[in-house]
């Protein structure tokens, strides 16, 4: 069970006038994760959509201190902040690194794995929009099979998505969780919980992207919910090795009401060239993963 729902912090740390796209899943998630983290936080972010959201020098739309870093170094940058704060005897500050899927699954994995192995006391957040959205939708290792991107423009992505949560779990983290921009309270709860825990914490956020996934901006929450309801994205948390479903995913398990993945795919232009074979394979991949989770939860 997730903790009882905390009263959501009324403060806003994401100010009006940020530069995200219309219907951006990240901006929705970011607003709530900052509310959960509150004032005593330092952020570090690599090149990503978030860099754009934060705004252009000399103005920013985010009221939490932030150090921008190079693309591969997000977790190492956080390690330096933690080390610097320790050296100055400031141990009351939450250090949070926020990267996209490219900055996490691909170019950032070395630094992330290093920081996790060292048990660096920070929260690493991956907002997963399943491609290099800031550069205009190129394939990443988080892109699902069958998706069109500008670097898989005709044949679609041929491989399944990398299981980053599994990789991170192999680091024996005290806390890791997956959550979604479409379920802000599940997200809020998990960040509140993560903030209270020491050590390396990893949270992955499903962040639907209207221009990249090719759907109307008004449908972000709908698409995000369908990802969870079809089981292609699962809401769960693992604390000290103990797995549990949360929120909507939990009710899906209890009621056995998981939808076929086609319900999620058919609403997005990026899957329009997906073959029947790919669809079958993807459904099988989703089923296998889902059953693994269900077995673990038992």
């Amino acid at each position: 069970m997730p903790d009882k729902l905390f009263k959501v912090n009324r403060e806003e740390y994401m100010l009006p006038g940020n530069r995200s796209c219309q219907g951006c899943g990240l901006s929705l998630a970011y607003r709530y994760l900052l509310k959960a983290l509150r004032e005593n936080t330092i952020l570090t972010i690599p090149a990503s959509c978030l860099t754009v959201l934060h705004g252009l020098y000399p103005t920013t739309s985010v009221a939490i201190p932030c150090l921008n870093c190079t693309f591969p170094s997000t977790a190492a940058s956080a390690s330096g902040i933690v080390a610097g704060l320790n050296a100055l005897n400031r141990t009351d500050i939450t250090v949070v690194a926020v990267a996209g899927d490219g900055g996490t699954y691909d170019i950032g994995i070395q630094a992330l794995s290093g920081a996790a192995e060292r048990g660096t006391d920070f929260i690493f957040v991956c907002y997963d929009n399943e491609a290099y959205m800031n550069t205009g939708t190129q394939r990443s290792s988080a892109t699902p099979m069958g998706a069109l991107t500008t670097t898989t423009p005709i044949l679609t992505k041929q491989q399944n998505k990398k299981d980053m949560l599994k990789i991170m779990e192999a680091h024996d983290l005290p806390y890791l969780a997956s959550t979604s921009a479409a379920f802000p309270l599940d997200l809020y709860d998990k960040f509140v919980r993560a903030k209270r825990i020491k050590g390396t914490r990893y949270i992955e956020i499903s962040a639907p992207c209207p221009p990249g996934w090719i759907y109307p901006p008004k449908d972000t929450v709908k698409i995000g919910r369908l990802a969870v309801e079809t089981g292609i994205f699962v809401l769960f948390e693992i604390e000290d090795g103990k797995f549990r479903f949360t929120g909507r995913s939990k009710t899906l398990v209890e009621k056995g009401s998981r939808l076929p993945v086609i319900n999620y795919l058919e609403r997005q232009g990026r899957f329009r060239k997906m073959s029947i074979e790919q669809l079958t394979q993807l459904q099988k991949w989703v089923d296998t993963k889902w059953n693994e989770y269900v077995r673990r939860a038992e």
Binding site: E39, H54, G55, C69, S79, A83, R118
Partner: protein, 407 residues
């Protein structure tokens, strides 16, 4: 009380780090820098140096740690060599662009392919244009002194500094080193006062996206564009000349050792031919000069201590009366000539100095360089000049330059 100890260049550097009260260290082991990180580990784990030591998974991460720890307000140190430095290349730009006073020891080593663990200066010279100050040490004494000086300089001008010294030649060679008195160092180098701090008390977004042109902040104040920030970095590095010279002078007053500021000379006052180089190679050249002097040739040495900012004014002055200049260097700017030679020639442009300049590439990948060979090269250059060949091609000393016909 200062005391003399026998130590390697790496140990001297570690001692300099300890005396400088560094607060965060991050490093990744690479030959020939490794004993430096090992010695610092011992100092930290043994409780002799109160610092955070972050043992990261790559050199790229090393500088990320240093950049952010410095941005939080800590005094930081790192060290590397060769491929480690090349792997940091992106981060070198970020450290300089962030205007953070990070000090790094670069234990100079050749660059692959093919692999070589031995010394030359290609690694550091190849990072010439990343916005770091570069100081080359000639011996182990200069290493310990320069590490301490580097913090004072870097924190005065907010530019990171690379303290370079030759792998194995210095890093692994034991010589007597006078260790400065800790209390005197504490007075010479006060605690780091950061010019910007990443902290929740004063939230700010450091290093966000910037336009090329200037923009107003929310208070209506016009702030720098990308080019203004680049210009300020250039001015800061040019202006570092003064900080380097005054720091060297202040250091000499307190500790009694003058390393020359931007450059140093040996028997150069009346020299008709001057040998110039960076690092331990310049030390080697002093022996060559003694040999030449014995043969009645008025030779001298100019050791280039600071490569960036380039000591333009100083070299114009010190080379003004010489009849010939020989530039020996352990690097090559492929497709042209030695990088130091080009920079030196550029410094003379527009002056009356028409002394012939001969460039020798030496010691690449650790090939031995003997003082006798430097002296012989000098004699052959002087002969060539006497016979009217004032601008020969760059010569590769002690290298088989015969290229067999192919096909």
């Amino acid at each position: 009380m200062s005391n003399v100890q026998i130590m390697t260049g790496n140990q001297a550097a570690a001692m300099g780090v300890k005396l400088s009260h560094v607060q965060v260290i991050s490093a990744y082991p690479i030959t020939p820098q490794t004993p430096l990180t090992e010695t610092i580990s011992q100092l930290v784990e043994g409780g002799e140096l109160k610092a955070e030591y972050i043992r990261v998974e790559s050199e790229h991460s090393v500088l990320a740690v240093c950049i952010s720890a410095s941005a939080v307000g800590a005094r930081v140190f790192t060290s590397t060599s060769s491929h480690g430095l090349l792997y940091m290349h992106e981060q070198l730009h970020w450290a300089a662009g962030s205007r953070l006073p990070i000090v790094m020891c670069c234990v100079n080593r050749g660059v692959g392919a093919p692999w070589s663990i031995f010394n030359d200066q290609q690694d550091a010279v190849a990072q010439r244009d990343t916005g770091w100050i570069q100081i080359y040490c000639r011996n182990n004494q200069e290493i310990i002194d320069t590490v301490i000086q580097a913090y004072r300089i870097a924190e005065a001008v907010y530019v990171p500094i690379m303290v370079c010294y030759d792998g194995f030649v210095l890093s692994h060679t034991m010589t007597p080193v006078e260790v400065p008195d800790a209390d005197l160092v504490r007075d010479f180098l006060p605690p780091y006062k950061p010019h910007m701090i990443l902290s929740p008390e004063d939230p700010r977004n450091i290093n966000p996206v910037i336009f090329p042109w200037r923009r107003q902040d929310p208070e209506g104040v016009l702030r720098d564009g990308y080019m203004e920030l680049r210009y300020k970095l250039q001015k800061a590095i040019e202006g570092a000349r003064e900080a380097i010279v005054t720091t060297n002078r202040a250091y000499a007053e307190v500790f009694g050792r003058d390393h020359g500021g931007m450059l140093w000379t040996y028997r150069a006052d009346d020299a008709e031919v001057i040998l110039t180089a960076m690092g331990s190679l310049a030390s080697e050249a002093t022996v060559a000069v003694d040999i030449l002097r014995e043969q009645g040739i008025k030779a001298g040495v100019v050791g280039i201590r600071v490569f960036r900012p380039f000591p333009k004014e100083e070299v114009r002055e010190v080379f003004v009366n010489t009849g010939a200049i020989l530039v020996f260097e352990k690097d090559i700017s492929y497709g042209y000539e030695g990088a130091l030679c080009s920079d030196l020639k550029a410094a003379f442009y527009g002056t009356g100095n028409r002394a012939p300049i001969h460039n020798y590439i030496v010691g690449l990948g650790g090939r031995d360089v003997k003082a006798r060979e430097l002296a012989e090269a000098t004699l052959s250059s002087l002969e060539a000049i006497a016979s009217g060949n004032t601008e020969p091609k760059t010569q590769w000393l002690n290298c088989d330059t015969y290229l067999p016909e192919t096909g």
